[in-house]
Symmetry: C2
Subunit: 181 residues, 2 copies
């Protein structure tokens, strides 16, 4: 219950504690996976995992669903291989499962990590899964002794990340981008 | 001359084109090193390199010189090992050389890179070396097909990076930080 509480237990998230509220059911394949019971549907479980064997077509489908522009699969594969952390969220029913969330982080394995490509399938948004995914990422990065976790947030999600404890432009530090001409 | 010009050739850097203006002398140990003649002192060369066998005590001395707080050498070593790109600047005189600049980048090897720990020794600041180092980083990252180059800039260097072509908060994207409580 402790971990579950740390995911969804704060008062300000009460409104998102509907469909996926529940207890940890079991650790899955490895120590990096955590499964939650869905109280609204006893046949459904939600799995958070750091396993890396993600079907790239399934990932593309998830990214399509939120309207991201497609990227070459060859490069996506390479990016996943070289990300420090790859986190995924699965809806599990019996023996089948569906990829419904994803995020990854680059890192120097020592000081800094940068989170990229945070996505939750539209059908599953507004249920606290994005918050759960970010808490899961932070927990995993902290367990690797990474203290400086960074990201670049689009304007409409800045408040979401602020509620997760992220600060925008702390001490006037500016996120900056260089693109090819 | 082409590469040199791309380093220091733009009009807005004329004032910094004093001590280190010169031509490429030779590629060094590998294709990733570039040596410049110092026109103010014919016995001195400036070397830009991506080799990774940097003496960590020498790096610590460089970081001390700009007043950065010390970090555990064990973690610095790990961070260098797991950085995608490590760039250094050396003052070379005869057979001896001195570390006078440093920067590194994390990356997913495919889409994104994030530049960290950009430092030029105070004695060598104001001579265009910081700009040269950043151009060198960008060139190396571009040669690896990385198109999204990011960094987090302290307020007093935001203008410097803007002159290098970096944009602060493009389209309202915010750099965000999470620190442990």
């Amino acid at each position: 219950m402790g971990f579950w509480k740390s995911f969804f237990g704060s008062p300000d998230t009460a409104s998102t504690r509907t469909q996926f509220e529940g207890d940890i059911v079991q650790g899955m394949n490895d120590a990096s996976s955590e499964m939650f019971r869905d109280r609204a549907d006893v046949n459904t479980r939600i799995l958070f995992s750091t396993e890396r064997d993600i079907d790239l077509y399934e990932l593309e489908e998830l990214c399509d669903a939120v309207g991201w522009s497609r990227r070459p699969m060859r490069k996506v594969r390479k990016a996943l291989q070289h990300s420090f952390l790859v986190a995924s969220v699965w809806q599990v029913r019996g023996n089948s499962r569906r990829l419904i969330g994803f995020a990854r982080a680059t890192s120097d394995h020592a000081f800094n990590a940068t989170i990229w490509d945070v996505v939750v399938h539209p059908e599953f948004q507004g249920k606290g899964l994005g918050k759960g995914l970010m808490k899961y990422m932070i927990k995993k990065l902290r367990s690797e002794d990474i203290s400086n976790i960074t990201l670049f947030a689009d304007p409409h999600v800045v408040k979401f990340y602020q509620r997760m404890g992220f600060m925008a432009d702390p001490e006037g530090i500016k996120g900056m981008f260089w693109y090819p001409d």
